[in-house]
Symmetry: C2
Subunit: 347 residues, 2 copies
């Protein structure tokens, strides 16, 4: 996605500049236990595990792209939003580094995670540093925007972070519960995923100088996009292909994750089927055979179709909200195309 | 310390207000897995483990006190620095919540740590939320200071955070190394401890409107104070009394921590004594008898006296730097008294 987006290249340059500046003004030398900033470069796809320059998958940069496109669609210069885009991507990656520790995920984007390579304790440090760097990136707007907008942006950025953390608190708690309602699930993803896409769309429009009413429309558009994105992610977590997702097929079943398909299944099941599911899930590991049986249950209750329909509904809703937020034109068309790509992606 | 400091009460109120506002605008209800904001209130000493209001030891609030006193000593109104003091204390406590996970510390201030009560994964979340809250607290100065000072303050706050994380990276790495030089140790505590006291002193003077030269003097004063504070802490980690420190006596020996006394000992020892120490430390646990023998070694090499002398030297240096930074008067006297109290504290 980077190739066809000159504005995204600017985001990437900005992220690198913030990290390079921090490294060169920092205290760590070659004797340090962890080359902290190079670990971040590894996570972001700029280096391999031996810290040689690399160009590997470091994520799709969807959130900064959304921010820049919304800036443009609200009549602004997208390159003015580059520091905000960089801050958003760094914030997102800070949460990923910590999530991987919390979820015991050893692989992300086909590569070992930070904690899997350098241990939990240092991965906590890496995430903390990435969070501080995201704030420094955001401060890049300080001399480009009016002071009142800067304060508004910084406040919203940190409130967004709280919503993301709250979402993660809920998500971790779901693991220990027998069932979760669809409402609770939606609250969780509204925090964990949609809060940041909502901020991305809103902040892009803010940089463009949009008025409060239009800002709110962009925010709602970004939220609907994020909800749809997460539910598509849940779909792929069960029915995605390894080559495309970089994860084991049915990974979320193996991890007993209460993603939307499982939430819907739990809500619909007869008591005997529920007992069956509980027994399939009760062992220390979910066997291949058990995974097959859970997949059958999901098919039998029509869950796959229901999840697809929910993605389609949110996709339509996001299109309507976009039409309300942005004037017709190439920038809005690009956002619509991004939306279509996200709703149908397979990895 | 809170009782005799009306200005500190304002810091405390400000911290509570920031957390309360976040909770009331947040998404968590009673069904959430973790009452995130009440967990923070527990850590800060405002609630007990059942989330009943409490007034227990939540730390000495030395850093905000330093910030407010420096504001006053630079000719400012200390209450104008209350948001900065609150931000500093929240930042400090974010690092403590994460440090306790990294160091496997089950007790802090005579109470179980956050991860010991609610698990590692949720403790990571609690720390992350506290960090975001510290940024929100700091933004409280946005309408009280010129925009350029606000940007400067925010940038320095996050650069300080990077130095703290770098210090923690170094500290964790020391555990796996046979020895550490005094220089490396000093770099580590300059990040882990002195970066924040330096920021506290500097930011207090910034709120007072001090010029760059005076700001730098206050920063150096805060740094010297922090270095002395940490070395006193290292002293107490070995020779402190349980009733006063809230930790086991010789806790740092049991944890094989490369604090200054051990660094000095390793540097001075004869090879046979080094072999003895290695054998004392090699087992899965350090026995009471082994602790006694390490204490004897420290005595024999005069380490206790050398650590005391280093605290005294930094104490004198901080006094000189204070005299250069601040005009004579009651505010400077109060800072001098704080400095004396810290250099001789026993808990």
């Amino acid at each position: 996605m980077t190739e066809d987006q000159p504005a995204l290249r600017e985001v990437e340059r900005y992220m690198r500049a913030v990290i390079d500046r921090a490294e060169s003004s920092g205290m760590l030398d070659d004797r340090a236990a962890l080359p902290l900033y190079r670990v971040l470069a590894y996570h972001l796809g700029w280096m391999d595990e031996q810290f040689r320059p690399a160009r590997v998958d470091g994520g799709k940069r969807i959130r900064p792209l959304l921010c820049l496109r919304c800036c443009e669609a609200a009549g602004g210069d997208p390159s003015a939003a580059a520091p905000v885009g960089a801050a958003i991507e760094l914030l997102h990656n800070f949460t990923l580094v910590h999530d991987d520790i919390q979820d015991r995920s050893r692989t992300r984007r086909h590569r070992p995670t930070v904690w899997a390579l350098w241990g939990e304790a240092q991965a906590i440090n890496a995430g903390d540093a990435m969070f501080a760097l995201s704030q420094l990136a955001l401060l890049g707007v300080a001399d480009r925007l009016p002071a009142s907008s800067v304060a508004l942006l910084l406040r919203a950025f940190n409130e967004t972070t709280l919503r993301i953390v709250e979402g993660q608190v809920l998500d971790l708690g779901f693991e220990d519960r027998p069932s979760v309602s669809v409402d609770e699930y939606l609250t969780m993803i509204r925090g964990k995923t949609a809060a940041l896409t909502a901020f991305a769309a809103w902040s892009g429009a803010l940089v463009a100088g949009a008025d409060p009413e239009r800002l709110e429309r962009f925010r709602l558009f970004g939220e609907a996009l994020g909800l749809g994105f997460q539910i598509r992610d849940d779909y792929l977590g069960i029915w995605g292909r390894r080559e495309e997702t970089g994860k084991e097929p049915a990974d979320d079943i193996r991890r007993r994750k209460k993603s939307l398909p499982i939430v819907l299944l739990l809500e619909s099941m007869t008591p005997p089927d529920r007992e069956l599911l509980d027994s399939l899930w009760s062992g220390p590991e979910v066997s291949d055979q058990a995974v097959e049986q859970v997949l059958e249950l999901l098919e039998r209750y029509g869950v796959r179709e229901r999840v697809r329909a929910e993605v389609a509904r949110l996709h339509q809703e996001a299109h309507s909200l976009l039409a309300e937020a942005a004037e017709p034109g190439p920038a809005r068309d690009a956002l619509a195309a991004l939306l279509d790509r996200l709703a149908t992606r397979s990895g």
